[in-house]
């Protein structure tokens, strides 16, 4: 008989600082082997059938971890994974210190007056480049929003680093349709969170088009997907 002592992680989390609770997971801040770390706990969902819940939860944790490594291998910043407990579906990863979300950056830049346009355009260009690189690696993020893009402030004058987080809905695909949908999700999230940024998002797409080797097919699909969306006229 094997005794199952898999309570180590839940024990640690019961005393840890809860940072965020989402529909899918809870995020805690802990010290892990001497480093500040984040634990993403995908807790059981009781509204799901238990067998399906376990399969889905496990799959999402695996996908998250695979996509992170795949992005890092291509030179895209994503949190370093330190440890995964597959029994509790908890991922221990690097805490990105000294960062703010792109969402907050856009909001605060829009409120300040100095070089607003230039700063935002520069950001849009960089985001377009990073997403192009990610899609060229055939990684579909699955949940692109400005809250899942972090800017890690470098020392002094050094440019901040764009870090992608939250790969829970990510998967590998070469299909332009999947990449187009990925961009569509970002577009919807972007425009609904940041009013009057249509032109800015266009700059992002332009940067993506220039940076990605396979962009024309993707943008074509994006245009098609836009026509499919909710409240679209189904004429012709």
């Amino acid at each position: 008989m094997v005794l199952n002592h898999s309570m180590a992680v839940p024990e640690l989390l019961s005393k840890a600082e809860l940072m965020k609770q989402g529909a899918e997971a809870r995020v805690y801040r802990v010290q892990f082997l001497g480093k500040p770390a984040i634990v993403k706990e995908r807790f059981p969902k009781r509204y799901r059938h238990p067998v399906l819940d376990e399969k889905l939860t496990h799959r999402r944790a695996v996908q998250e971890v695979r996509s992170i490594l795949r992005c890092r291998r291509a030179g895209i910043s994503a949190p370093v994974v330190y440890f995964v407990d597959y029994t509790s579906n908890c991922i221990f990863m690097e805490e990105i210190l000294g960062s703010s979300t792109v969402r907050d950056y856009i909001t605060s830049t829009q409120q300040s007056d100095s070089c607003q346009e230039q700063k935002l355009e520069q950001l849009a260009q960089r985001v377009g480049q990073v997403l192009a690189k990610m899609h060229d690696e055939d990684v579909i993020h699955g949940d692109l929003t400005t809250s899942n893009l972090l800017l890690r402030h470098g020392q002094e004058d050094k440019v901040s680093d764009l870090v992608l987080i939250d790969f829970g809905l990510s998967y590998i695909s070469a299909l332009p349709e999947d990449k187009g949908v990925d961009l569509y999700v970002l577009e919807k999230a972007f425009l609904s969170t940041h009013p009057n940024t249509e032109a800015l998002f266009q700059k992002l797409l332009k940067s993506y088009t220039v940076s990605s080797k396979k962009s024309s097919a993707v943008i074509k699909k994006l245009d098609e997907v836009r026509l499919r969306g909710r409240k679209r006229s189904m004429v012709g």
Binding site: K35, L69, R72, R73, G75, V80, Y82, F83, D85
Partner: protein
């Protein structure tokens, strides 16, 4: 000089790392380890970037031991296995365990918080040095090659980041 750290997930346990240079009896040590006479993991320090790398391997090993999921037969062989980027156990020992010709060794012991393990140091014919010195023994070229680290990856993090990420995710890659 040795470095003892705690495992947050297993608060009653500690991991102690001890580093030796100018080791003259590597063959004897390796033989003792193979015979199960050494209560510690004997690691080739040229494959180590930082003590954190060892801690990550030890943490995973203890976790798997407690949940009955170890892939190897003992906690110490599991630590060596966890350092490797592949799932081949004998390759892990070959690359990360010590060889007869080695002149340095990192010894890792997992123990209760109140115990200290000094007897292993007595078996080593070599000079003990601070564990932090391990970076001076690292062979970055060999490490990058074995872990298959891409040049782009080095731009978005340190060598330690790349190594640890692979160690942590190898079960699903």
């Amino acid at each position: 000089m040795h470095l003892t750290q705690k495992l947050e997930l297993f608060p009653d346990q500690r991991v102690t790392q001890t580093l030796f240079k100018e080791v003259k009896n590597a063959a004897e040590l390796r033989q003792s380890a193979v015979e199960g006479k050494i209560n510690g993991a004997l690691i080739n320090p040229t494959m180590l970037v930082d003590p954190f790398q060892v801690m990550v391997a030890a943490n995973k090993a203890v976790h798997f031991q407690k949940t009955g999921k170890m892939k190897t037969r003992s906690l110490y062989s599991e630590i060596i296995f966890n350092l490797s980027p592949t799932n081949n156990i004998s390759e892990a020992f070959k690359r990360f365990g010590i060889s007869d010709a080695d002149d340095s060794v990192m010894i890792v012991v997992v123990h209760d918080k109140n115990e200290t393990q000094q007897d292993i140091a007595a078996k080593v014919d070599g000079r003990q040095v601070p564990v932090e010195d391990v970076s001076s023994l690292s062979d970055p070229a060999k490490i990058k090659k074995l872990y298959k680290i891409t040049p782009q990856e080095e731009k978005c993090g340190t060598l330690l980041d790349a190594v640890v990420c692979r160690m942590a995710t190898k079960d699903v890659m």
